[in-house]
Assembly symmetry: C2
Homo-oligomer: 691 residues x 2
């Protein structure tokens, strides 16, 4: 393993011979990928090949700095180090328990030939499933302060490709439908950007370990060439830092299959290990809550006669949660600050004072007595200064009440985050700039101090920091189910959830809030409905990974359909392993996951507007073991447009050699629970078979 470059730097500079030999290269452990570094007239560039064919053509590296010459030219290689890692680490929770981190590393110390002789270190890690690289700025005593005006990192694709992406710098954060274009038609996109080359290679370009830096977008600068576009502060500076520091990792994941991107753990491997120590208090789970009823306008966040967050209503949800074994009950709109135009005008939420009709002490006690946790809610409205001022107190308040999970919210548009600059003047910042990255991390750290898990809505994008902060559970950061309640464009079209697993979800878990059972609500929202079949709602619990999953609909809608609801009751949210059986971006996906610390497996398969018949071999099951498969599938006449509720629930005995034919209706899906068959089960199925 590479020793610490920072410590060794002085040693290298004194004792190493300049490495004139060029280019330098490093391969992935199975030799399929090769990274080549070279200096072109002193300018650092990298190239990435796979099986001897270029994937990333020579691409620049470097920085433009404020009040300094660019850190991009006139370099020599002062030292080179390389190493290998092959270790397996355990996720305290996640989509897979044991993660193998196997990579080869190449670290290059660059030194300017100019009199300033500044250093820049480049670290490349080659995994079999992709590349990660970052810059390290060593301590530069004469200019500790660094203001990055531009990061010159390029990703010059070797060939054009299909691309799934959302445009950056829009008013509504990340909440857009993904568009599919040629890569050569991208303008500027948030990462992860997903690409499918004409040769059948799937790529995801993203970043890892974004904790104190601007988030990276990709701006197209040539036909199929992209440059890092760091989301700036309001004054145009992209990143403010102080040496020594390290940038986030820039990542390129590569697979021959679309599913291979989903089971790549490169992003997690590039994050730092857990810094929180004992995290036995972090527990994945399922929750219900006072939430969808507000999206349907059946009640309100704000106070008044239709206020949703009342003591009685909360107890009703707690009763339901206790009856069906849910872990938590979310209550939104419970605290002072929701009245008035809180999004655009007054952002003065009070995070410790409930509305008078919500007796939070009583509710928390009632929940505790029933073995259910109240899930806290901190809507900031983007007012992060207000939040920061109360943050310590707010989490302490919840901790005292036994709350172990808080959902945060940062509703706000465009550059609406108001920061006080050094002159005390309010400046509008993006959700995705360094200022907000810091604010989001502050919340994670403060929550951790109070042993509280976070579910962040309107978040900064995920870059895998849950490895480092295992209380950072899940987040929104895309169009979730709520759009089906009120979006003027009619909600999320059927293909939306067949794109998310290959785009947004490559970044990390998402709180999509699935499980709507009352799919049509013409009296309430005549222009909206849920654009899926009922079976697809169930399948989303497996397809979309989230350690905290909501059963988002109202209790009465679940009680009306106890058969399908059983799947939501049974499905876990923590997994031993994950595999992708079918994957076609924007068309269909089938995922199977094995319960953590259990022997059940769960399958979710969904499709777009097109019906599908997909063969699923059950090779993942324990050989020799019979399982009872409880199958929740679209009925033969199901169609999201005309027969969305048509569902069939059947049971059959299966084993590892069974090939199930999954029949998905248009806009449909299928959910299956596999549990080991008991002797009684086997007897029952033999009997019923001979009937």
């Amino acid at each position: 393993m590479r020793l610490c470059i920072s410590i060794l730097l002085l040693f290298f500079l004194i004792f190493s011979q300049p490495c004139a030999a060029q280019p330098l290269s490093v391969s992935s452990p199975n030799a399929s990928l090769r990274l080549t570094f070279s200096l072109h007239n002193g300018a650092p560039t990298y190239q990435l090949d796979r099986f001897n064919r270029p994937v990333i053509l020579p691409s620049r590296l470097g920085f433009v700095l404020k009040d300094q010459p660019p850190l991009a030219y006139d370099f020599t290689i002062a030292a080179v180090d390389s190493g290998q890692v092959d270790q397996t680490w355990i996720q305290p929770w996640g989509e897979k328990k044991e993660i193998r981190d196997r990579h080869n590393e190449l670290a290059i110390v660059l030194q300017e030939k100019t009199p300033s002789r500044r250093n820049l270190i480049l670290v490349f890690r080659l995994f079999d499933d992709g590349l990660g690289f970052r810059y390290e700025f060593p301590l530069q005593p004469e200019s500790e302060q660094v203001a990055i005006m531009d990061e010159l990192t390029e990703f010059n694709l070797a060939a054009d490709a299909a691309a799934w992406w959302i445009g950056a710098y829009q008013w509504n954060r990340y909440e857009y439908l993904y568009q599919k274009t040629r890569a050569s038609d991208i303008t500027v996109a948030y990462t992860p950007v997903t690409l499918e080359t004409d040769d059948g290679l799937f790529l995801s370009i993203h970043e890892a370990a974004l904790t104190d830096y601007a988030s990276m977008a990709l701006r197209r600068t040539s036909r199929t060439g992209f440059q890092a576009d760091l989301v700036p502060w309001s004054d145009g500076i992209r990143v403010r830092s102080r040496t020594p520091f390290k940038t986030p990792w820039r990542t390129v994941q590569i697979s021959d299959t679309a599913g291979g991107l989903i089971t790549s753990y490169l992003i997690l491997n590039l994050n730092e290990p857990n810094v929180l120590g004992d995290v036995s208090w972090v527990k994945p789970g399922k929750y219900v809550g006072i939430w969808w009823e507000m999206h349907l306008d059946l009640s309100t966040w704000h106070s008044g006669p239709r206020h949703g967050a009342t003591t009685a209503n909360a107890k009703r949800y707690i009763d339901f949660a206790a009856e069906y074994g849910f872990d938590g009950v979310l209550v939104e709109g419970w605290n002072l600050g929701w009245d008035g135009d809180w999004v655009n005008e007054s952002i003065n939420f009070d995070f410790t004072t409930p509305y008078p009709d919500f007796d939070i002490e009583a509710v928390a006690r009632y929940a505790r007595d029933k073995g259910v946790r109240l899930i806290g809610h901190h809507e900031t409205g983007g007012g992060v200064r207000n939040y920061a001022e109360q943050m310590e107190e707010a989490f302490a308040f919840y901790q005292r009440l036994g709350v172990n999970t808080v959902k945060t919210g940062y509703v706000g548009h465009g550059q609406s985050i108001l920061r006080l600059d050094e002159n005390g003047v309010e400046q509008g910042e993006w959700h995705h700039g360094q200022y907000m990255v810091q604010q989001y991390r502050l919340a994670v750290e403060t929550a951790a101090k109070h042993q509280i898990m976070l579910d962040v809505h309107e978040p900064i994008k995920d870059t895998g920091i849950r490895r480092t902060y295992p209380n950072m559970m899940t987040r929104e950061g895309a169009r979730g189910m709520e759009y089906d309640a009120w979006s003027p464009d009619g909600g999320n079209p059927p293909d939306h959830t067949t794109i998310l697993p290959f785009t947004r979800l490559l970044a990390g878990p998402m709180d999509y809030t699935p499980g709507i059972f009352d799919l049509l609500y013409p009296e309430i929202k005549p222009d909206n409905r849920v654009n899926t079949t009922l079976a697809k709602q169930l399948a989303l619990y497996v397809v979309i990974y989230s350690p905290l999953h909501m059963a988002a609909d109202l209790p009465e809608n679940y009680r009306a359909r106890p058969g399908p609801f059983q799947f939501i009751v049974d499905v876990p949210t923590d997994w031993h392993d994950t595999r992708v059986l079918h994957a076609r971006i924007g068309d269909y996906i089938t995922v199977v996951r094995q319960q953590r610390d259990g022997s059940d497996w769960f399958l979710g398969s969904i499709t777009d507007d097109q019906g599908r018949i997909l063969d699923a071999p059950l090779a993942f099951l324990e050989p020799g073991q019979k399982y009872v498969a409880t199958i929740y599938r679209d009925a033969p006449d199901a169609d999201w447009r005309t027969q969305p509720y048509a569902i069939e629930i059947t049971e059959q005995l299966v084993d590892a050699n069974t090939v199930l034919s999954l029949r998905l209706a248009p806009g449909g899906g299928q959910a299956i629970r596999f549990r080991p068959a008991t002797k009684a089960d086997r007897q029952k199925f033999i009997t019923s078979h001979s009937d």
Copy 2:
């Protein structure tokens, strides 16, 4: 099941009420496909929907006839019949032993409203994997002779798609590289035409049971609309027939996966059952022969000092075949007629007289004594009249010598087939018109009479008649391996064999003649080479299905590489079952097949110019059973361009739960034999593991 329409027709016409109710429809057994028939102003049309979404928009049906009004308008529905079939039949040999024929049928008797009141019957069969339909011409006593000038059948695609196709009416029969374009860029194409819609549906349009009709090409007549283009006789008539008769089936196979097209048996299901009775004399197998050495110009087909088909040379191949257990030895160029420009000028092959240096009686006896069969060869040079005159004698001759397989050849270009018309004048016919369809069938029937299997080169395309005539084993009908010996364009590019399984091979088995071990022959053919790695040559034996597979290279080249050659020795050519694990047209494919009457499985995986890493779950293996996997794979530095011979052969214990990571080099492949592990095997692997 539908009763015989022809017999019942009179009954219908007398007793049925005209069925005014329109449209008529029938669904596939699992209800995913729906065929709708309707009359538009008396003109018959059909439409095909899948999961309630159109796949084929309303498309015309009917005929233009010579000396009669078109059979296309002014129809009424005189009678309708429907039925269901669900039966399983056994292939005497094949890629899968048990074939399930499960379909719903709709038969419609049309009658003209005009005074002639002619009838036309349409029969639609809806399978879960596609549609077949055909026309039946009932007996029309007043005009028994029918000359079809045009078949009006349309296939109007609901949406544009990617298409893989070869152009029809070219000089070189079917021997072209497949081109990939949009469907809307097709001009006129031979079938099968393979389509991938933007919604992720895979279609194959083809025909079944072509035995006495012109073959069908597809001509684009609107943006994404196609009309049947029957290959005409030299006088412009497309089909000559006599009522009653039935057309071949027009077929549309549909799958959500590219691999699903490969494991669709719709074409076979639409052919008539075996008419040959006991076919225990039909035996799949492997062969070697005097063939590749001529393609390399090391010897000649014609007589002279370098004549290949000598007694001594044949015995050398027989020795080799006997040593390694091959079933047959092909000898080409053995009979009089190869001297001179036989392709373009004199077509006077003598099918019973060997060249003086080839003692066929002695060779046949020598082979028989060693347990090897001589494989006969009938090159016609397209001179089918000459062949027909000698055919009976030619097959009797071979039968007497113990030959049970004959490879036929019909080299000839464009309309070079010379037929004598009614005035005794020679007319040039296409390989693909009705005249040649009859000639090819004549050879199949004559061979069967002499208990001889056929391997047809320069054939009519396959339409599944092997079900009816199980001695019709395999055929060429595409660019085979021989192009790597001498093609001016440098041979078959690496992606060719990743396209064939999804195009040409959807029609039926192909004699590709794989297994070239001496990949580079710069002294002999400086501009040619085999454009694969060595491991890919092995994988082709599994990927490309053929009941007769050649080990095409020279004995000395196999003896030089005994390790890889063992796979060719071991691989069978008759299968109990076939599954496709990975499929991406033009990029990669992985196929596994289970040995017929055995417990071994074989895997073949190949890629195009791009290296791949593909995970293969071994769910097909018997659960609980350990297998020894003998793996023939590209070495880490393999690349068809630079290191084509780099191969690794390893063994490991696997079971149904193993997921193998297949690493395919650029232009490479992987071949695996799985055999049940003995106790000794398990002991060996445990021991070697603990070493």
